[in-house]
Symmetry: C2
């Protein structure tokens, strides 16, 4: 099939450091190429891809040092480029939330839109009502909860390439926390859990400007001078396998409706089980007693960590490969694209758009 | 004429406190009603207007306490409402930068788009190229400088209703600074100028979260314990006349390409002259030696302040009424709308849109 992938322009594809959506787009795109499709990626020029690249900006926006830029303008220019070529594709797959809807009203039946963010925002429902001809993909079933009546076509869990992560048959005796320092990610709980078990904890995380006060007033005082806790800052792909693979478990003590939680499957790819709080996508990603444990509070987390020896790191990796490889993700999207393509073949009833 | 006004949704129309664009839209809309036009305002439900209001959100976004909201989604829903009624209007006047372009491609010849912000942002040029069928209005000639080849139709300076401001025939012996505490507004220069003249300075300004560090490290130390400087915080319309009217002069010591600078004409409406640094719109707004003085540095500002007795506060107010009343602004837009309307009458050549 001839497939267009349309990514947000905030991070490079894949991102140089932090960044979820563009990482998923990068590996989905390459996996679709591996399946034999003719794939075109509309992204900034710093993308690394096996697909045909249409560069729509000189570089990704977040790390662009230009002092003044407009993310709306950048995405509008990108979408104009896609629209100019719309008739060349069988499927146009958007990862850009909703900004493309007014551009592609005439092409909605050959589009797929994956929503990557949380959906409990006040202004969203009227937009997904108004442009209900656009078929949507959720990245977990739980993500749909605030918009149950939107035009959902499938849930497709994220996947990552297995060869990006090194399997660790043995861990090094510490717990790991990886992500962003923020109240919804609850690094304070990770510290409390490690303290109760008297077990070392390594924290690899970025601190956004918006979270600096939380870091300085809540987390840093718990880390400073604490012999159990090591803060290693933000890490890139090259360091992830050692960091995650060396851990007895990844702690994922979130307190928000996480739409997916990429770090859980990155840990699984290294053979590392996950202790996760029951929020958002967690019950869909973690298989209780197989790839980790799902808990509701610190007591349960401590009890779960004592049961880690019951789990097999080989099995954790095997479950990653079955459920969360980039290949598995690409196969599920391929199925969905195929169904669109059938629906779009004549003879068919005219799909009158609602006024 | 049947006229639609489409405002940004960040502040109420007019704003309860700070806010420039929505203040201009409010008074343009009312002045067009006064001129006998049939005006429809697409705004949040907290608008106060003499036009027909189509409420497109329950309240303006910035002061909405909802924790999670999407400004793009809110504006997309608004524009969908406008589009549903597009055939009812002779003119649709947008104040929403560019977000409406993909919606109104079929109606471009009866739209006017006023750009309210600075235009030296990296991503803008390709967008105004791509949608060049949309006629644009600048709020000063200087504002056009980064986009000289855009489809400019007119410059229309802002106006305010004269009865909103009380003329003060006599001042109270202090200098005034009104706006936002930020490095580009240079309140530090205002303090230096007042200090050199040993003259009291009153600062009325909001401090955004983004400018808190600048406030705490640069400005607050200059204000604290300084007997010459009084900081009165953010003020609303009710207090503006007393604050501005009591001043010998407004200090406007900016260091950025200000697209218009509403506070300059608010001071003039009170009869208060303006000492302004030569940036952006300043030479178009201030008449040298009549409504104020235009300066390049602190020495010139101090010298200009010594010449204040040469200026007549009555003349300053009179120049405001001639050049910057809401009525004057509405007349200029009315001219522009009329020219659109003529252009759109048959017989005419088909305006083929570029591909």
């Amino acid at each position: 099939m001839k497939i267009a992938q349309v990514t947000p322009l905030y991070e490079a594809v894949p991102p140089r450091l932090y960044g979820g959506t563009e990482r998923v787009v990068a590996h989905l795109t390459d996996a679709l190429v591996d399946l034999g499709h003719d794939v075109t990626l509309f992204a900034s020029a710093d993308a690394r891809t096996r697909a045909r690249l249409v560069p729509v900006r000189d570089q990704a926006m977040r790390l662009d040092p230009a002092p003044l830029k407009s993310d709306l303008a950048a995405h509008m220019s990108q979408l104009a480029e896609v629209l100019d070529r719309a008739d060349r594709f069988d499927v146009i797959h958007f990862h850009t939330d909703m900004v493309h809807f007014p551009f592609f009203e005439g092409w909605a039946d050959k589009t797929v839109t994956t929503l990557h963010g949380r959906l409990d925002l006040k202004d969203l429902a009227p937009v997904y009502d108004r442009w209900s001809e656009f078929g949507l993909v959720s990245i977990s079933d739980d993500q749909r909860r605030p918009l149950p009546h939107a035009n959902w076509r499938a849930t497709v869990h994220h996947g990552m390439p297995g060869d990006l992560y090194r399997f660790s048959p043995r861990s090094q005796g510490y717990l790991a926390f990886l992500g962003r320092i923020s109240p919804e990610k609850r690094p304070d709980r990770a510290i409390e859990i490690a303290t109760r078990l008297n077990k070392p904890l390594k924290i690899a995380a970025k601190v956004d400007a918006a979270d600096r006060v939380y870091w300085e007033t809540v987390i840093e005082p718990l880390v400073r001078g604490n012999p159990l806790v090591e803060f290693v800052g933000e890490i890139g792909d090259a360091e992830k396998s050692a960091f995650l693979g060396g851990a007895d478990a990844l702690l994922f003590p979130i307190a928000w409706p996480e739409p997916f939680g990429l770090v859980m499957i990155e840990a699984m790819a290294c053979g590392t089980p996950v202790i996760a709080y029951q929020w958002g996508s967690v019950p869909e990603v973690i298989e209780e007693g197989v790839t980790g444990f799902i808990v509701d509070d610190e007591d349960e987390a401590v009890a779960a960590l004592r049961r880690l020896p019951d789990l097999s790191r080989q099995t954790v990796r095997a479950r990653f490969e079955t459920r969360f490889s980039a290949h598995a993700m690409a196969r599920r999207y391929e199925d969905l694209y195929g169904r669109l393509d059938e629906a779009a073949q004549p003879p068919r009833l005219t799909l009158a758009q609602s006024a």
